[in-house]
C-alpha cells in the first residue's frame, strides 16, 4: 500500500491543518491553566461528535462538486421526530432505525431532484433545509424533552480513557464513521467514482462511470449521515427542537474546507472534515477559556482566527506549490535516438 507519506499538493492542506491545530492547542495550553488536559482534548470530540459525522457525510457530496445545505436542518428534524416518537411511547430501537431511514430517504429525494432534473444542488438542498426546519415547527414549535431511560443511559454512558478522561458513545460512532469514510473513499469503486465525478463529471460520464447512480448515492449518503448525526446529537442534547443547530450547515462546510476539501470538487481526504471540526473546536475552546470577550468581540475574534487559519493554510500550501518543480520531463529520453533513426 502506497500511503501518501510524501508531501503532495493533495495532502498539504491536511498537513497544514494538523500543524496549525497543534500550534493552536499549544498556544491555548500556554495561555490558560487546565487547557492542556486530556479531558479538554477529549471534549473536543465529545462536544463535536455529531459535527464530525455530518461533515464527513457532507464531504462526499462536496467531493463530487455538489453541496448539501439541508444537513443541519435534517439533524434538527431527526431530533424532533425522535423526541415525538419517544414521547408517544415507541421503543428507542424502533425510533433509531426509522429516523435513519427517514434521513436516507430525504437525501435520496434531494439527490433525485438534483440528478434527474439537473437542478442546482444549492437550490434543492436550500428547499430541503426550509422543508426540514418547517416540518420541525409543524410538529412542535417548542422544544421537547427526552426522558426515555434508554436514551438517557446512552447519553450518560462514558467510556473511560487512559489518563482521567472519558468519551461518549457519540465519539465512538463518529470515529467509526470517519474510518468507514476513509475506507470507502479509498478502497471502493464508489469512493473513486466520487473523486472522478468531482474531477470532471463529463469525462466520468464518457469513461462509462455510473455518474447518475453515484451522485444519487452521495446525496443519499449525506442524508444518512445527517440522520446518524441527528441520533448522536439527540443523545447529546436529550431534546428535540426545531431551532437546534441553526446555521450548522455552515459549520459543517467550513469544517470540510479547513480539512482540505475543495468546494469545487475532486480533492480532499476524508480524515479532513474531522480535523476541520477539531480545529474550529479548539478556536472555540480558547475563546471560552479566555472568558472576557463580549458577544460581538466573540464573533469578531472567531472570524479572525478562522481567517488567520485559512490564510496561513493558503500560504503554506502555495509556498509548497511554488517550491515544487511544476515541470517534469515528460518523456523518457530513450525516444530521442529513435526519432533520428526515422
Amino acid at each position: 500500500m502506497k500511503l501518501p507519506l510524501k508531501i503532495t499538493s493533495s495532502n498539504i492542506t491536511i498537513l497544514a491543518t494538523v500543524l496549525l491545530f497543534i500550534s493552536l492547542y499549544g498556544t491555548g495550553s500556554a495561555m490558560f491553566d487546565s487547557f492542556f488536559s486530556i479531558q479538554v482534548f477529549l471534549n473536543l470530540f465529545v462536544d463535536n461528535a455529531f459535527l464530525i459525522i455530518v461533515a464527513t457525510g457532507l464531504a462526499f457530496v462536496i467531493v463530487t462538486g455538489g453541496i448539501d445545505l439541508s444537513v443541519a436542518s435534517l439533524i434538527a428534524l431527526v431530533s424532533v421526530l425522535s423526541a415525538v416518537m419517544l414521547r408517544a411511547g415507541i421503543h428507542p430501537f424502533v425510533v433509531m432505525p426509522s429516523v435513519l431511514l427517514l434521513g436516507t430517504i430525504f437525501g435520496l429525494l434531494q439527490g433525485y431532484l438534483i440528478c434527474r432534473f439537473h437542478i442546482h444542488p444549492w437550490i434543492v438542498t436550500l428547499g430541503g433545509m426550509f422543508l426540514a426546519r418547517g416540518t420541525c415547527f409543524l410538529i412542535s414549535p417548542e422544544s421537547i424533552v427526552i426522558d426515555n431511560p434508554i436514551y438517557s443511559a446512552i447519553s450518560n454512558f462514558r467510556i473511560p480513557m487512559p489518563g482521567e478522561g472519558s468519551i461518549s458513545i457519540g465519539v465512538v460512532i463518529a470515529l467509526v464513521t470517519v474510518a468507514a469514510a476513509v475506507y470507502i473513499s479509498r478502497y471502493t469503486a464508489f469512493g473513486r467514482n466520487v473523486y472522478a465525478i468531482g474531477g470532471n463529471e463529463k469525462s466520468s460520464e464518457l469513461m462509462g462511470l455510473p455518474v447518475y447512480a453515484t451522485k444519487l448515492a452521495v446525496y443519499t449518503l449525506s442524508g444518512f449521515c445527517s440522520a446518524l448525526s441527528g441520533i448522536v446529537f439527540t443523545f447529546y442534547m436529550l431534546s428535540g427542537y426545531g431551532l437546534h443547530l441553526m446555521g450548522g450547515e455552515m459549520d459543517a462546510i467550513a469544517a470540510c474546507v479547513i480539512g482540505g476539501i475543495l468546494l469545487t470538487g475532486g480533492f480532499g481526504y476524508f480524515i479532513g472534515p474531522m480535523l476541520g471540526v477539531l480545529s474550529a473546536g479548539v478556536i472555540q475552546t480558547m475563546i471560552m477559556f479566555q472568558g472576557s470577550l463580549s458577544s460581538w468581540w466573540t464573533k469578531i475574534v472567531i472570524g479572525f482566527l478562522l481567517f488567520a487559519f485559512i490564510a496561513l493554510q493558503r500560504v503554506i500550501v502555495s509556498r509548497r506549490e511554488r517550491k515544487r518543480n511544476p515541470h517534469m520531463p515528460k518523456k523518457t529520453k530513450s525516444s530521442v535516438p529513435n526519432i533520428v533513426q526515422l
Binding site: 432534473f117 437550490i123 418547517g134 455552515m250
Partner: protein, 345 residues
Amino acid sequence: MPFMSMFPNAIRSKLFWPAVGIALILVFNALFTPGFFHIRMQDGHLFGSLIDILNRGTPILIIALGMTLVIAKEGIDISVGSVLAIAASLAAFLLQKHVPFALALLAGLGIGVVCGYWNGLLVAKLKIQPMIATLILLTVGRGIAQLISGGKIITISDKAYRFVGGGYLFGVPFAVILAIVVFVVLHVITRKTAFGLFLESVGANRISSEFAGINATRIMISVYVICGFCAALAGIIVSSNITGADSNNAGLWFELDAILAVVIGGTSMRGGRFYLGGTVLGALFIQTLTTTIYTLGVPSESVMVVKAIVIILVSLVQSDVLREMLSRTFSKKMEKKVLVNETAA
C-alpha cells in the same frame, strides 16, 4: 407576448418562468385575497399590496442584483447580510453623533465598498474559496455591526435619511426608484461597456480569459465591490425604512433569499451567463410569495414549508429536463397522430 418579444431568445426563456411564477401567485391572490390588487392614493402616495411588494422587495432586489454579478463570476457572497448591518449601523451611528446626512450616507456606502474589496481580495488574491472567504465576513461583520451600535438598535431621526427608504417621490416609494436606478446603472455597466463580456468570460473560463488579455483579478474584485456596495445601499434602505439600525437582525438570512432570486432568475451557480432582468423577476417572485404568505395569514409554523415547496416547484418548472420530458411525451402523441393520418390517407 409582445413584451417578451423585445428580448433575444435566450433571455426570453430565462425571464419566462419566473414571470409565470409571479403571474401564478398573483392569479392565486386575485381569486383568494380580495383587495390584493387594490391601489389607492393615500397621503399623496400610492398604497396597496402591490406597492408593498415592490417596496419590501427592494433590499433583496438590490442585493440580488449585486449577487448576480458575483455568481456570474462563479463566486458567491454569503456576507451580504452582515455587510448590510455594518453599513446601516455605521450610518446610523454617525447620524446619532450629528454627522451631516451626506457624510453618514457616504460612510455607510463606503464601508460596503471596503467590505466588498476585502472579500474580493480574499477570493482573487489569496484564492480562498468564495463561500469560506465570505463566511469570514459573515461572522466578523455581524460582530462589527454590533460593536458599532453597542448591540442596540440605533434610532434614526434624520429626515433626509428617513426619506431614502421611507419617502415617496411622485407617489412612488423612493426606495423603488433607487432599485430601478441600481438596475439601470448595472445594466449600463455590464451591457454598454465590455464589463459584462469580460465578466461572463472570466466566470466561464478564467484561464482562457487571462490568455485573452483580461485582468481576471480586477474583474473578480470589482464584482465583490459592487456586491458590497449593493448590500450597503440595501442596509441604508432597510434601516431608513424602520427608522432604526438593528445590528442584530438586519439582513439576517438575506443571503439565502438573494441567491435564490439570482438562481430563479436563470443565472447559473456555475458562473458565466447572467441575467439581471431575470434576477429582478426572481426577487419580485420571492417577495410576492412572502407578502402573500403574510397576507393570507399562513400559520407561522408552516411558512417555511410553504416556501420550500414553492422553491422546489419553481425550479422543477424551470428545469430543461422536465420540459423536455413533457414535450417528448407530447410530441410522441403528435407523431402517433401524424401516423394515423398518414395511414388514413
